[in-house]
């Protein structure tokens, strides 16, 4: 759409700007402030320069948390994206069944994060959970509170359960925008199921897939509540992801300086990767003339 140039539009944006400035910029400034100072209590602060940043960048503990975080995000993206596409392709196109699928699939997305954690915490328990009990009955030695591998599997299956529907719903929305004529043309050309997917469906889904990957990347990179409820970051530190580590540091140990420096680096990493996604996304929009 052609937009008119009008700088007075700033007045319409002003309320949002003030509100977000209050709830985002001021806190962020506090974080920057802490990241550059040291304190020995009593509200006395000393200039620390970039010391905390150096500490954080050389900290083995944070490297380990970052490593786990990247692995977690990579695994869930590798499972959820193909699975989501697959489910979207199999969804009924219209009518009652399509509505039913939409509603049921959206259900996990609307459950409070800690309840998601609680559901899986209960579900996986060997004594009272269906999953844990069934596995024990099958003779599998499964215990997510003491075995690191089991804890990882539980957290990953939980995330797949929680968020695959998001990818599927977005892909489904993309698929719905493909005109029936495309499929008819493919039929006349006797295109195989694979070529229909590769040359018609996948290109049409490109835009929504990018959004899906962006959202899943962002949200999985800052995941906190769900794994915290299920495993508390354990056993040991095996499921301590970045946010869990950060909260431990900031609120548990009150290491304000390092925690603040850590926060800023963390935020910048997410911002950088998301900016790349965003740029690609807007370029796609322009190319398609949306």
């Amino acid at each position: 759409m052609d937009k008119t140039q009008n700088n007075k539009a700033w007045f319409l944006v002003l309320p949002v700007l003030l509100l977000v400035a209050f709830s985002a910029v001021i806190p962020l400034m506090t974080v920057v402030n802490y990241s550059l100072q040291d304190t020995f209590g009593n509200n006395e602060f000393f200039w620390a320069g970039l010391e905390w940043f150096e500490d954080v960048l050389h900290s083995d503990r944070i490297h380990a948390a970052l490593g786990r975080q990247i692995m977690f995000t990579a695994i869930i993206l590798a499972i959820e994206v193909p699975l989501g596409i697959f489910v979207a392709l199999n969804m009924p196109k219209k009518g009652f069944w399509s509505s039913l699928c939409l509603v049921l699939m959206a259900l996990p997305l609307l459950i409070p994060f800690n309840v998601v954690g609680t559901i899986w915490q209960i579900f996986g328990r060997v004594d009272i959970g269906l999953l844990g009990h069934t596995l024990a009955w099958l003779g599998v030695d499964y215990n997510y509170t003491s075995n690191a591998l089991d804890a990882w599997l539980t957290v990953i299956v939980m995330d797949v359960w929680h968020w695959t529907s998001l990818v599927a719903l977005l892909c489904y929305a993309g698929l719905q925008s493909i005109p029936e004529a495309y499929y008819q043309a493919a039929k006349i050309d006797q295109a195989s199921r694979w070529s229909v997917f590769r040359y018609i469906e996948l290109p049409k889904m490109q835009g929504v897939l990018l959004i899906a990957v962006l959202l899943r990347f962002m949200d999985s990179f800052m995941i906190y509540t769900e794994p915290f409820v299920v495993t508390g970051g354990g056993p040991g530190n095996s499921t301590t992801f970045l946010s869990i580590d950060l909260v431990k540091m900031a609120i548990g140990q009150f290491d304000l300086g390092p925690a603040a420096a850590f926060s800023l680096i963390y935020f910048l990493v997410i911002l950088l990767i998301s900016w790349v996604f965003y740029t690609v996304m807007t370029n796609l929009d322009k190319r398609d003339g949306v």
Partner: protein, 267 residues
């Protein structure tokens, strides 16, 4: 396309989604002795005690009231500031518009863990700690950008000629906006409100950090009860089921916009 195969795939997937939820509902209808002593696939001794405990004890049900208060406050604030801003983004080019639009999105990307401590200090220093408005304002961090993006997505679909015709007909901007424009994007406002409601409802980290007693959300009350001695699994499950209900109730009405909402209006 083989229809049978598709139905089977969907059946398996939905089963995978629903079994854990079923297990929670199942547990919420059992007595604690049944939960811990025998393993049953459905309640043998059906009881509503767990729900009764929650609905009669103020320290439990006030959690729902607190959550509802700040969620509604947040939704109202987010939508009312986002409407004019979304209009500006959808209709005008102005200095720094693209940067501003992306900057809004960055707030959606900010890990709540980063903001937990500064929020705590900010709201404590202005005397808002443990109030509903503090949580409502904190949730604006991600809900205002969300509302702006969703509403902008809907407003782009309204042809600009409508605005111009209204001005020619002598409508003032506020009158045009309320009388003509708003009814046209009513579904967009509904969807944006639903998503603000949802994201504020499911968030725990910030709402837990910013409250102590008076505004404590249900989600935080649940975690406290888990750590108390003697697990009351039945009540915990019942509390969980009750938090799922608000979403489940309205989901049918927004089913066709779910994808659009989650994708920040970009589908």
């Amino acid at each position: 396309m083989p229809l049978r195969g598709s139905a089977f795939v969907m059946f398996l997937y939905l089963l995978f989604l629903l079994v854990p939820i079923y297990w929670l509902v199942n547990m919420s209808l059992k007595t604690n002795t049944e939960i811990t002593s025998v393993f049953t696939l459905w309640p043998q001794d059906l009881t509503f005690r767990n729900y009764a405990v929650i609905l009669t004890d103020p320290s439990w049900y006030m959690g729902y009231v607190n959550s509802l208060i700040y969620v509604v406050l947040n939704t109202v604030i987010s939508i009312s500031v986002a409407l004019p801003a979304a209009y500006a983004f959808s209709r005008y080019r102005f200095m720094g518009d693209k940067h501003l639009f992306f900057w809004l999105l960055t707030n959606r990307m900010a890990p709540p863990a980063v903001f937990a401590l500064p929020f705590f200090q900010l709201y404590s220093s202005v005397g808002l700690f443990d109030t509903h408005i503090a949580v409502a304002l904190a949730h604006c961090l991600f809900n205002v950008p969300l509302a702006v993006w969703i509403l902008e997505g809907f407003m782009r679909g309204v042809p600009k000629e409508i605005d111009e015709t209204a001005y020619v007909d002598g409508y003032s901007f506020p009158r045009f906006f309320l009388r003509i424009f708003l009814p046209l994007i009513a579904s967009g406002v509904g969807v944006a409100a639903f998503f603000c409601f949802m994201f504020s409802w499911v968030e725990l980290l910030l709402s837990r950090t910013l409250t102590a007693v008076n505004a404590k959300p249900i989600a935080a009350i649940m975690t406290r009860t888990v750590s108390a001695s003697g697990m009351d699994w039945g009540v915990l499950a019942a509390a969980g089921v009750l938090t799922i209900i608000p979403g489940a109730l309205v989901i049918y009405f927004v089913r066709n916009y779910i994808a659009k909402g989650f994708a920040l209006g970009r589908v």
